[in-house]
Subunit: 508 residues, 2 copies
């Protein structure tokens, strides 16, 4: 078989059956091979950042890799920002990048670039294929590398001639690596610290924020915090809810105030998103000591279960909010409406920054759902991650909580949602502004915002019309300007299979 077919079959042998692609000439062999390998699903994206972001969302939900297929160094470049987020999420991704044929590469053709240098910026594993005969082994190794705990982007660069040449048999199945078992000495140490007289807390990240880990954490008599940049958090009124660390350093410091010990479970120590003049980067008290119960490559859930008592600690049940009928439309009333109406089993892809906090709080009393937050802060994550989550879990409704500024980076994701009939409701929080920058500008020392500075944060002049943008990409869309309108549109969107887009024009 050709190298291209060998690669597709090797991926399939290793459980990778989705390929998010924006191919060009150097990848035509892979596209051509799709018809002979029907078990591999190809999903076309109109921009590479949609491929990389969707692969991230897919991996967060299934803990297994999708493949991406990108075109040479410059095509890979367009995928890097969302690969950065995948890297921070420890999402396994098998990233296949076509390269010029080995005979053509020395000629410095227009598209020639240092593809491996692009790849290394975001990948934990990079390999340039050296022969067609090596394809099967290299592709299997790429899957193994992607799954190396805690998960990473593995990039295999494939010169075009190795795709169109004879490559021999497909690579065989590798054994999927599992996270390492927890270290019992560290479990004992953590137990002593938490039983001790000095104030101590737990901070969870990684897969410790899924239902089993949360159930165990809820049986530990200590304050429990969640890394706000974890890849996936299960939530719901029936689940124990750790305290998510706030975005800005001052409230984050307040949340952690007085702690002498913080026991870390699948998370590094907490750090502020940005540094500010005169502010410490770590929100924990200066004399707080960190203790690792489980690293990001270890099974933190098992460690929590070893640490947990037999019975849940009684906590007040969080009620669902009432519908904000008659209210003006704000981030808060949108959040209340979503919290009131959210059905069970939803996946939320959340890329809000300035509007994020008012929504998060109102979801705590909703039925069980998954929340996929920002991990790497690279903007343009929300819609692609929603697409990937919908491809991973076709029987679940996905809701993308997206800001108007952030959504513009990768709006092409809407087209792939339409094409794949992805069951996504995109809610655009349209404040017509890079609102977060107002706050950030003042924090970095600016005393007042002049008209020219203001203009660089303003998304009016002209207004973005998200309804037209969505329709132009084949997605049904509507606008809401009051809470009642939003409630009606959101109910409609929940009652049908998606994709749908609601532009929520919010007041401050």
């Amino acid at each position: 078989m050709t190298g291209a077919e060998c690669l597709l079959r090797t991926l399939l042998n290793n459980g990778v059956d989705l390929c998010l692609m924006n191919p060009g000439t150097s990848e035509m062999q892979f596209v051509s091979a799709l018809d002979g390998v029907p078990a591999m699903r190809g999903v076309l994206c109109l921009f590479e950042g949609v491929c990389s972001g969707a692969a991230d969302g897919y991996a967060r939900m299934l803990s297994q890799p999708a493949a991406t297929l990108l075109h040479l160094g410059p095509g890979l470049a367009n995928g890097l920002a969302n690969f950065h987020n995948a890297r921070k999420a420890h999402s396994p991704v098998v990233n296949i990048v076509g390269e010029h044929s080995t005979l053509h590469l020395p000629y410095d053709a227009p598209l020639t670039a240092d593809t491996a240098a692009f790849a290394r910026t975001v990948s934990g594993w990079v390999r340039v294929l050296e022969s067609a005969a090596g394809m099967g082994a290299a592709a299997a190794e790429a899957v193994a590398a992607a799954l190396q705990p805690p998960g990473q982007v593995a990039t295999l660069i494939v010169p075009a001639d190795f795709s169109w040449s004879e490559a021999g048999a497909a690579g065989s199945a590798i054994e999927w690596p599992a996270p390492r078992a927890p270290d019992s000495a560290r479990v004992r140490e953590a137990a002593e610290i938490l039983r001790g007289r000095e104030p101590a807390g737990l901070m969870l990240g990684g897969r410790a924020l899924l239902a089993r880990g949360l159930a165990a954490a809820g049986r530990i008599p200590a304050p429990v915090f969640a890394n706000r940049y974890a890849p996936r958090i299960e939530r719901g009124a029936d689940l124990f809810a750790p305290v998510r660390l706030p975005y800005f350093p001052e409230p984050a410091q307040q949340a952690l105030a007085g702690l002498k010990h913080l026991v870390l479970v699948e998370t590094p120590p907490p750090v502020s998103f940005f540094g500010y003049p005169g502010q410490r980067s770590c929100p924990a008290p200066e004399d707080c000591r960190f203790h690792v119960l489980a690293t990001e490559s270890e099974d933190g859930t098992a460690a929590l279960e070893m640490l947990a008592g037999p019975a849940p600690i009684a906590r007040p049940r969080i009620a669902r909010p009432a519908l904000p009928t008659g209210a003006p439309l704000t981030a808060t009333t949108v959040g209340i409406a979503i919290g009131a109406l959210l059905p069970e089993g939803v996946i939320l892809s959340d890329e809000m920054v300035s509007s994020g906090e008012p929504v998060w709080a109102h979801l705590a009393g909703a039925p069980r759902h998954d929340h996929l937050p920002v991990t790497g802060g690279s903007i343009g994550q929300g819609l692609p991650v929603a697409l990937g989550a919908a491809l991973a879990c076709p029987d679940r409704k996905v809701i993308a909580l997206e800001a108007d500024g952030s959504g513009m980076y990768t709006l092409q994701a809407l087209w792939s949602m339409a094409r794949e009939r992805a069951d996504v409701v995109a809610v655009i929080f349209a404040n017509r502004r890079y609102r977060i920058l107002d706050v950030e500008m003042r924090r970095t020392g600016a005393t007042e915002i002049g008209p020219r500075a203001n203009d660089m944060m303003d998304l009016r002049r002209p207004d973005l019309e998200w309804v037209k943008l969505a329709q132009g990409l084949g997605v049904a869309a509507s606008r809401a300007t009051t809470a009642d309108e939003f409630i009606a549109r959101f109910r409609d969107a929940l009652s049908e299979r998606g994709p749908r887009l609601i532009e929520a024009v919010i007041e401050e």
Copy 2:
């Protein structure tokens, strides 16, 4: 003054007065400083690839750099694909990238990445600022580096604390470097070759394709070719027209068949865009020898003038085409209509691939205009380059010739066109397909295109509605489905200041 103000003032001292930006928290000081430095024009873009592509277009027209202001490694990542094109165009660009403050950087916050590694993939010069006091000197050095012949992307990475700290006086003006004078020995050698008995031709690139270089080339009795990936070509019925090398290897080989010598002026030897099974990468005959008259860093125009005879060689004048009234709408009839109606002084930003050749031919008889072709092949260049050209030359009409597939990578450029009232007419050649890939797939060995492969090249399901997309971004738009409709829409668009978009729904 703060580091941020010092940087803006140093850029101004060195003639850089346009900053294309997509800033975040780490760049807020620069945004804040805009109000105190009114001579610096800030242009906001909704995606970083618009900034980098617009800087490329600006540089191609003025041979001087604009600044770009991007947010950390991931923001830079989104600009890389169009910086790749700028690198291949030898466009001077001063690329400023904000970085976390030096105290925050070691904490591996979500947005932390190896910013310099991202930068090195496309930059000829990269520097990480080491102190606020060094800002003035570093910014001046960045401008000098950008202008180093033949021009390059120079990236200065600025930690946030050096922007908000005291930096002292602005950097002084550097002397702009000029291209080196031609080597007289090489001029003599070229003259001998062209006078000799073996068939010999000239190939022009760089600034040798502007009017003065073309005038000189037109006085040399030899076949003259143009590198099709040159950054800017002046054209018009009154100008000598070299033969642009065709895209595919076979017709390119035919154009150069029989030549024993090719004299290169500001261009490397010709190379095919892609390599194919059994095809040579260089379209020149195997026994053709290359001779460098002027490198890309030398003044090829002066060299051509030393080589040229006193009088132009008589050539038939190329007539303008007649309007394709009553015809169906195809790439060819759109090309004919544009060729028939093009007013003097237009700048064409051309990113068509499959539709490119039928248009190019019909522009030869039009009045004097500039043509900005694809240089690096990284898709998403056309609309941003058009924006940059319009900012560089506000008194000239810009026409973007854009494919529907290519336009989708950076459609956010339309919003900045609307905001800046850029005088751009975007013509979208909507064939609803990655048409070029049909051809490329067959060339790389596929004998037939199966339904699943076909689906990966198909832009229907759903159709992209460019009129709605443009309106959603604030740009007036209309659709044409016959040649007569296109003629009417295009005439309208020419009669008003832009921006305007015309979706030309073309048959094959």
